[in-house]
Symmetry: C2
Subunit: 341 residues, 2 copies
């Protein structure tokens, strides 16, 4: 059964009134939520999500959303996987700088590279976002796109988190992985829309999140088509092409998807414009902030954090009545394999 | 049945050898081709296309391509619809310049705007690509993305071709529309990859070609997120973001799809790098040039045409043994509703 058949076929409408169908669908979906979202507690957050899915998928309901318009967008860092003590991609960039250092003797004398090579993360990041961008560009360019995908695949399969010792792909939020699958099972396309690099996420996003490469939107550096020894390649250049953060997120969604999302999930002020853009459309909308409140099993941070700051976004979420997921209160577990609590 | 079920399920493999299955599948697909590609003559071009589909979709065949990797890319101007005497989007730009002229009194004195307003197309384009780009940027910016989509929708529903008097959407190539549907029925995702503007194609591409917005890749101008009177909008800026032509096509495909196509269709030198990039992957590949040879029912042009020049591409297609579709010889008709010939 295709997405369109399931939603649009007159066969499924029977002869019931729209409100009866909608109420029936809501009951069925709610009953099934415990099965499909097992890591979510029976909370207001889960009810908001399940209620939104029920009302947008109930054929004949005035709030029905055609399957093609069921676009759900997810931030990655801090929304789908952990981002403390630092964005995973920054840690990847540090490792790449170390690996590339023999070919760059000048880095021994030049910040922020010198501090990275000396293992002094704090000093390396003293230059703020500019320093981080410089590290990312220097460590992410200079290969072909195929080579870069291999480098990322090798790294993500072996690198370990500095405090938990886990693989980074073991530090995805199990409730969000379940949510992605739940939305897809209800005909939604689930896009990642991240400030992280698109080519850093694609090699593992399908395996870990079930999100295929064409549904990963992220920041990017320019590439250049070249024919090398008769073989066409795309060379990765040390030039920023697109920063998919803040106001860049709605622009990136429009440029790549061409439809306004009906559901958006983020965790920081960098996601605020994406949630505003989503909320601004006509018809039912679901805007969700995931809030880091679990200092014991994860991290607790918001208004003053350098990584994943949630300040203006939290105010707007409260003012607008958006859903705020309290990780400690609303989730049974954070990471796959964790005990429930 | 989902794309994955159809292709990957062990149920479908029975106990036959792979070569038997492949041969059987090829026979079945070839027999069905006359039904699904009725506007194609029984030619070598059709056989090449049908043979490619047969060998890439035969489960158990060594040339089988997983459904997720079945990416087919199509140029638009001159490949899916007519591009003579001038790109349709240029004609749209001229009409927009005329519509906007009352707000731009300075255009009366300034080329290329002055010539457009005087109805002198040849003089307007005397400045070459630079002049055309200036006209496009001036006429395509200054609105929100939603407003621009409405403007395009209104124009495409009413504007008529200068010599045929048809709607432009009636000047799509019927054999190619059938080919798009045929590939999708065989599990391929069909992307448009055009030098034309992505926001100029999306409002009608799904209705006319069956290609949804998220599978339209094209040139773009920058947008800026703004909140106007409490409503979030994306404002279209007079700045080029991306030119999806020539070497930009493989870069655009990688940035947006993240997979290398297995099939590519173009008609001009601007598509050459896209075809090279497609051909350069491992496994079965299909590279096709549509050649404009039908002066009677369409236009005949190649090596010396200002619009849609096919020169280097034709040489490379012959050297590499790519498929060259001869529109006059290989197609029963050009446009929907045309008599067969």
């Amino acid at each position: 059964m295709t997405r369109r058949d399931r939603a649009g076929s007159p066969r499924n409408r029977w002869r019931l009134g729209a409100h009866v169908v909608a109420a029936w669908a809501a009951t069925v979906v709610a009953a099934a939520a415990a099965d499909v979202l097992p890591s979510w507690k029976d909370s207001g957050s889960r009810a908001a999500i399940v209620g939104f899915v029920a009302k947008t998928t109930a054929v004949g309901s005035p709030t029905f959303v055609a399957p093609a318009e069921r676009i759900a967008v997810f931030d990655n860092d801090g929304t789908l996987w952990a981002e403390q003590p630092l964005y995973v991609q920054a840690l990847f960039a540090f490792d790449r700088v170390k690996a590339l250092a023999p070919s760059h003797p000048e880095w021994k004398e030049r910040e922020p590279f010198r501090s990275v090579l000396a293992g002094d993360t704090k000093a390396a990041l003293a230059g703020g976002e500019h320093a981080l961008l410089e590290l990312v560009i220097a460590s992410h360019a200079g290969t072909t796109t195929d080579e870069f995908a291999s480098i990322v695949s090798d790294w993500i399969a072996s690198a370990r988190h500095p405090t938990t010792g886990r693989l980074y792909t073991e530090m995805v939020y199990q409730p969000m992985v379940e949510l992605l699958a739940y939305l897809r099972a209800n005909g939604f396309a689930t896009y990642i829309v991240s400030g992280g690099g698109v080519e850093f996420m694609r090699p593992w996003a399908e395996r870990v999140y079930g999100v295929p490469p064409e549904q990963v939107i992220g920041s990017s550096i320019r590439t250049r088509f070249e024919v090398r020894a008769g073989q066409p390649v795309l060379a990765r250049l040390p030039e920023v092409e697109f920063i998919d953060d803040g106001p860049g997120k709605p622009a990136g969604i429009q440029a790549r998807v061409g439809r306004r999302p009906v559901a958006a999930f983020g965790n920081s002020d960098g996601d605020l414009q994406m949630l505003q853009w989503t909320a601004g459309g006509a018809g039912p909308r679901l805007c969700v902030y995931v809030r880091h409140t679990d200092a014991e099993r994860e991290w607790a941070y918001d208004r003053t954090s350098a990584v994943g700051r949630l300040d203006k976004g939290l105010d707007e979420a409260r003012a607008k009545g958006w859903t705020i997921v309290d990780m400690k209160q609303d989730w049974q577990r954070e990471f796959p394999g964790d005990p429930t609590h």
